[in-house]
């Protein structure tokens, strides 16, 4: 019987390949474009940027005043001063601010010295062209802030020294100009781009969608695989019983075959994701196995209970799609009503989805 089932699996592979081509490519297209649909609304109006400056001194205030008066910034960016780094992260994470700037303590004083510290520009994953433009603008704005602060420092140092010793003022001016030149030449080193996802969230929208669509494709494959259980009706089981074969042995054999076919489907998807995104964790080829085994067992159980392949397809599409939607598998939970977000924790598919996400993008 094992040989016969292995043969059946081989005969089923073309069906699996056709299913993959039809659904996999459609889902991939959705994964690529979905995040653009989700972010589109944020890009047409003034964006909010959270800014934290621990040193409330003249340099920072003047620098900030200068850039907020710039025409390009004034009509595009709304700088929202916050009182802590945590607030910056929280605003960026929640979407209240599209990006955040964290100026560390002693940023100006330590500039050009060995103790120089970097300012951080916290941003959400830019998925659309407009967001890239906004991120570039924020970067430039921060850069200007640093330049302005250095210029003010130069002017102040010069003014002080000029009042006392012209030669000393020359030397200080020379040093400060050197520092300023260093700063301008190496200004990229003074800033560091940090994704908010690296700090507060583990996964980006694209990761979430990729993982959940992968799960969805594999869940829906029960529809294709259900034809594999066509012989597994009451009559087939009766025949097996009369031949002395235990029902649970057939169940395990069929669940094993289903798991193999689902795994093969994942391998195909993995190859495509690696080719397109380059980010899928290769270890997921191993870590995904328990989830696939669970799905195969559930699929086989469903086929045992329901028997008719047509009924299996109705249930898989009906219940599977609804559960996936409620688990945030089709649209991320962050974009769904609060009620759905609260209810998701009671949905087993939510945890299956998390497992897929962690396995694929850990």
């Amino acid at each position: 019987m094992i040989k016969a089932y292995c043969k059946r699996v081989l005969l089923f592979l073309p069906y699996i390949a056709c299913y993959f081509l039809a659904l996999g490519i459609a889902m991939l297209a959705l994964v690529i474009y979905a995040s653009e649909f989700l972010f589109e609304d944020n890009t047409d109006s003034i964006v909010s940027v959270a800014c934290y400056m621990p040193d409330d001194d003249v340099y920072n205030r003047l620098g900030l005043g200068l850039i907020t008066r710039m025409e390009s910034v004034k009509h595009t960016v709304d700088i929202n001063m916050v009182k802590s780094k945590k607030q910056v992260l929280s605003q960026v994470e929640s979407g209240e601010a599209i990006a955040g700037i964290i100026i560390p303590e002693g940023f100006i004083e330590k500039m050009g010295t060995e103790e120089a510290v970097q300012a951080e520009i916290i941003y959400r994953d830019a998925d659309t062209y407009e967001e890239h433009v906004v991120n570039d603008l924020i970067y430039t704005m921060s850069d200007l802030l640093g330049t302005t602060q250095c210029s003010i420092l130069t002017a102040e140092e010069l003014a002080r020294e000029l009042g006392e010793d012209p030669y000393g003022a020359y030397l200080v001016g020379y040093d400060v100009q050197e520092n300023l030149a260093d700063y301008i030449l190496d200004r990229k080193d003074h800033f560091r781009e940090v994704s908010v996802d690296d700090l507060v969230a583990k996964y980006g929208v694209r990761d979430q969608l990729t993982a959940s669509y992968t799960l969805f494709i594999i869940m829906m494959s029960v529809f294709v695989i259900s034809f594999f259980f066509k012989g597994n009706n009451t009559i087939f089981r009766a025949r097996a019983k009369l031949s002395g074969i235990k029902t649970w042995k057939i169940f395990l054999l069929e669940a094993g075959c289903a798991a193999f076919m689902m795994y093969l489907l994942y391998v195909l998807l993995f190859i495509v994701f690696i080719a397109v995104f380059h980010t899928v964790n290769p270890l997921s080829l191993i870590t995904i196995i328990p989830a696939i085994l669970i799905l195969a067992m559930l699929g086989t159980t469903l086929c045992y209970i329901v028997k008719s392949p047509a009924a299996v397809s109705y249930i898989t599409f009906g219940a599977g799609t609804s559960l996936m939607y409620l688990a945030g598998g089709l649209i991320p939970l962050d974009y769904m009503p609060k009620f759905f977000q609260a209810a998701a924790v009671y949905n087993p598919v939510y945890y299956l989805n998390l497992f897929f996400m962690r396995s694929m993008f850990l």
Binding site: A4, L11, F12, I235, L242
Partner: protein, 213 residues
């Protein structure tokens, strides 16, 4: 009369509703027993009970040999060939299976003619022949056939009837649940199942008349 190989004594069986009530019958070696009845009269249930698949709610069923049950629906896997389907249920090798199919009474079924054809490409008659052959490879002493001639063409019907006669002449016992008058001509005795009860029909009774009564 020879010792019965199958004895059904006061068997009652409930499945959601009462299907069989106090059914008794016997069959000796070499006998062909016909089970006649309308749809839902309990013919298939009785065959299931004799095969051992269903336990009677009360009463006893004794069988003196190995049973082979050919169900109304065929327990075949569509994507596989006839040979693959046969190999699923027997430890015999390909050569041994072919030898059985050509060198014994199974040759009447002509399964070797389509041994490499996939089930999904077979006609109803071919599937039924294959299903019977698949059960017969296990060498049963008692063969239970549920509607063996349903939706078959004339050559297929003739071959299956010929096979039943051959199986009987070799000492095998056959139970047939059917509506076919043609088939009952080959039965040693016919039981009418009505409202869950089994009544032995007197010899010469027409099945059609018995059903109309």
């Amino acid at each position: 009369m020879a010792d019965p190989i199958v004895t059904v004594e006061n068997v009652s069986l409930k499945y959601k509703k009462t299907v069989l009530t106090d059914v008794s019958m016997t069959a000796a070696k070499g006998e062909v027993v016909g089970l006649l009845g309308l749809n839902g009269s309990g013919k298939s249930t009785l065959l299931s009970a004799i095969s051992g698949l269903r336990k009677p709610s009360s009463g006893t069923i004794k069988t003196g040999g190995k049973t082979g049950f050919v169900t109304q629906e065929n327990a075949l896997i569509d994507e596989l060939t006839a040979m693959d389907n046969l190999k699923m249920w027997t430890p015999l090798s390909k050569q041994e299976i072919l030898k059985e199919l050509t060198g014994t009474e199974l040759s009447i079924l002509k399964v070797s003619d389509f041994i490499n054809v996939k089930v999904k490409r077979m006609s109803g008659g071919m599937k039924k022949r294959l299903a019977i052959a698949s059960v017969l490879l296990a060498k049963p002493d008692i063969l239970l056939l549920d509607e063996p001639l349903a939706a078959l063409d004339i050559p297929a019907k003739n071959d299956i009837i010929k096979f039943i006669d051959s199986f009987r002449s070799e000492g095998g016992t056959v139970f047939i649940a059917s509506h076919s008058e043609e088939l009952f001509k080959h039965c040693s005795k016919v039981y009418l199942l009505k409202k869950g009860k089994a009544v032995l029909l007197p010899e010469g009774t027409s099945p059609a008349e018995a059903l109309n009564d």
